[in-house]
């Protein structure tokens, strides 16, 4: 090639190429746009809340009930979050870093409880461990008349934890999968046992992942209604529910705002806890941490996984089956026939929501992980707000806004999926962000110096590396969409039924047993889908 060419080429390029300002600008604009779009429906809450007299609102918010119920809620949130970490993190380690037999199976069973609507779980627990439940029946012949009550704070914590710990499990696992193992080796040659190395090296670095999951758990516990109600524990969302029952949307909105404030508080706590996470990536080692040999611990580990799976999956389904057998005769009719289309509707919706969330999460997560300015994590924080809003509130907001601004989308699948995205986007954002934090920023630089536009560099380099995080995010969104009830009920097209609307239907009719069948199918189908999703994480 001619020399003149080369020099001229350089010159030419120098004169023609656009002069870029900050590569983060575009990203910031996109992220901001997405988060604004997602936050927009919440304006409705403020509109409604504005309808109430200020003094009345203050009175409502400062009443004894509000205060005591708020305290109850905070106790519940704290308890569930801590307990979820205690269950989710060990399970993540077992399935990601040890030679536990049947790891893939346990990975799926550990994630699946997320698909069990927690109110079903709560039913099952009450049926099993309630004062006259299965356990009590079993024990009474032995002369044990009284068993400790399952009701109350501890019961609510137990049940909520068992059905939300998968948030922590999945996010932690994703972090562990993208974790660079050389530093663990380094710690061990500095005479740290596996456990010490984990505590001092692995833990601090997967902390953003754990925090992302814990945040989701906390916000879930904050906004859940069904479980605490069944567990006879009084929480804040019940107040909102009651206002809806009374059709006082303005009151409900004011209370929702207080709920949002609590959510913001939790977000702030989380931000503070993971503030030190800009200990940016540096080790260029790419070794996977070696598998931990469990040795004697294999049996207890299997027992642990098995116990959790039994409590979270076998127990509820078993109880439902028992109801099914017990419910015997008396009911028949097409209204309760389960149709295959419900399954496809559910899977389709969940898949669409997962896909959109994953895509929308990328720019937001990337900006939050790599952005330099203080406001770059604002869009990310903003997405969590939607997650903390109870489904009914969101549903009504979208009914209201949908009817006024996009009537052609009203009661369409599109609006429904949009609702899912608002509710569940942070699940994808959190996992994606914590994975991005673990990717060496030099990879992007290397790709750019090889002529790649930042976007394509991202696609070719970062994307495959954060696949575990994205897969986890997709799984989270998928599973939670599968079981989402309130927004689904309010926004679905008329005549469009899914797993949960069907379960809700039969349960509402008192045919608890009937719920066993779709619940089984729900779990089975979700398990299969999870298999597909988790396959993706192997691409890295």
């Amino acid at each position: 090639m001619g020399t003149k060419d080369r020099y001229e080429r350089l010159r030419e390029q120098a004169t023609t190429s656009e002069r870029d300002s900050s590569p983060h600008t575009l990203l910031a604009v996109v992220s901001l746009a997405i988060s604004l779009l997602l936050l927009a429906p919440l304006v409705w809450i403020f509109l409604r809340a504005g309808e109430i007299e200020f003094a009345r609102a203050v009175e409502l918010l400062t009443s004894d009930t509000t205060v005591s119920v708020t305290l109850n809620t905070l106790a519940l949130v704290t308890g569930v979050t801590v307990a979820s970490i205690l269950i989710g993190v060990p399970l993540a380690i077992l399935t990601a870093q040890t030679d536990l037999p049947f790891k893939r199976f346990w990975t799926i069973t550990s994630a699946l409880p997320l698909v069990v609507p927690s109110y079903i779980g709560a039913f099952a627990f009450v049926s099993a461990f309630g004062p006259r439940g299965v356990l009590a029946d079993l024990l009474s012949p032995l002369g044990i008349e009284q068993i400790p009550t399952i009701y109350g704070l501890h019961g609510a914590i137990l049940v909520l934890t068992l059905f939300t710990y998968p948030y922590v499990f999945l996010t932690t696992r994703a972090s562990l999968l993208s974790f660079d193992g050389t530093v663990v080796e380094a710690a061990r040659t500095l005479n740290h046992t596996r456990w010490e190395a984990f505590r001092r090296v692995t833990l601090p670095q997967i902390a953003p992942g754990i925090a992302a999951g814990a945040l989701l758990v906390a916000l879930y516990a904050l906004s859940d209604f069904g479980t605490p109600a069944i567990m006879q524990y009084d929480v804040f969302t019940r107040m909102i529910y009651n206002e809806f029952g009374a059709r006082r949307l303005d009151y409900a909105s004011v209370l929702s705002m207080l709920l949002l404030v609590m959510a913001l508080g939790i977000l702030a706590v989380e931000s503070r806890l993971s503030a030190g996470r800009d200990g940016a990536y540096v080790s260029s080692g790419s070794r996977r941490p070696g598998l931990i040999r469990l040795g004697y611990w294999k049996a207890p580990a299997l027992l642990f996984c098995g116990a959790i799976a039994s409590l979270c999956l076998v127990l509820p389904i078993g109880i439902l089956l028992q109801w099914l057998l017990r419910s015997g005769t008396g009911y028949s009719g097409g209204g309760f026939a389960f149709e295959a289309s419900y399954a496809w509707n559910s899977v389709g919706l969940a898949a669409a929501a997962a896909a959109i969330c994953v895509v929308a999460a990328l720019p937001i997560a990337y900006l939050a992980a790599r952005g330099t300015s203080g406001i770059s994590s604002l869009p990310e924080r903003a997405t969590y707000v939607g997650y903390a809003v109870p489904g009914v509130v969101l549903g009504l907001a979208l009914v209201y806004l949908g009817l006024r601004y996009v009537p052609f989308l009203y009661q369409s699948v599109i609006l429904l999926v949009f609702a899912y995205v608002i509710r569940f986007l942070p699940q994808a954002v959190g996992t994606t962000e914590s994975s991005i934090l673990q990717v060496d920023p030099q990879y992007i630089e290397a790709a750019r110096s090889l002529g790649y536009h930042p976007l394509s560099a991202f696609r070719k380099v970062v994307l495959p590396l954060v696949a575990p995080g994205i897969a986890a995010g997709a799984a989270l969104v998928f599973l939670t969409t599968m079981k989402e009830l309130p927004a689904t009920l309010m926004l679905r097209p008329t005549g469009f039924e899914t797993f949960v609307t069907y379960i809700w239907l039969v349960q509402g009719a008192g045919y608890y047993g009937q719920a066993a069948v779709p619940a089984l199918v729900l779990v089975g189908l979700s398990g299969l889908s999870m298999l597909v999703i988790l396959r993706r994480e192997d691409t890295s």
Binding site: T65, F336, P407, L489, G495, G510
Partner: protein, 366 residues
Amino acid sequence: SGILGGGDGGEGGSDGGTDTGAGQISLSDFRGSGPLVEQRDAPGGTSIEELPDLSGELTLYLGGGEGGLYLDLINLLEQLYPDFTANHRLEASSDLANTIIEENEAGASPADVFMSIDAGSLGAVANAGATASLPEEALSTVPEAYQDSEGRWVGIAGRARAIPYNTNQISESDIPSTVQEFPETAALENSMGWAPSYGAFQSFVTAMRLIRGDDETMSWLQAMQDHGITTYDDEFRVSNACADGELTAGFANHYYTLRVQSARDDSPIGLAFTEGDAGALVNVSGLEIIDGTDNADLASNFVRHVLSAEAQEFFATRTFAYPMIPGVAPVGDLPRIDDLNPPDINLTELADVAGTVDLLRDAGVL
């Protein structure tokens, strides 16, 4: 039908008719099965056969959990009339009411008919001016107490407040005959349950407020709490807890007890009623036609079908509700509505749930 079939369907002598041919539907399809339903007389009232055929597409908002049960009825009608389709949308009654009101404000609701398990929701929609008028033929078959005074909604099935109790722990005669006496009944101390966030319970409290005023209602609520009462999230669970022996007695709608009895053979659960007070309130499920429907004729005809002898037999034997037309008797050994001695109140006024929620909250119940 679905891959998993309809569960326990077909046993009540429906001869597989639920699945096959139109026009083959007979009374036995509308009627339930089991011990409670045996040896019933043929229902009186207008038979479906006397009504014009249903034909066309109807959009039906179906409120309430048990509303699911009503789907069976809709299905039967669809089988009966091949030209008839009901697009239904099933949600909690109060949510649907909220939705209809929103929709109505924004233009027109897609709904033609709102069918709700709760008169309060019907009233709310009516009060928001979102209803159209109902056919006189339909209104005339239903006692005045169970329809809106302005004819904007009509009851289709009655739901009585009742006291489920555990027959091993207490006998019917020990159960007080007014709600007012419950806090003073030693046998029930610390062994009762209620579901205060449940709509039917709130209607009961609303009724109490209408009858006795807020202050007395408040004292009663407090007295009940002092007496010791456990909170549940719905009344089916209250009823089950009674059957389990977890509770001695509770406050719940009557049909839950029948449902427990029907589902669990020989369960030790009985049903008692109070007299003349809110505890004996008979609330209704009902129907209204939504304003702006371009299907008014079909909607009217549909309402008449729901009030036909067969449909009322359905409500009585399948949902264990009180039928709304005199020709059909309630199931089993349920007292007739007239024997129940319900309080005399305007059901539309039950729509004031807000005041009740405030009261319940002030009482520390909610």
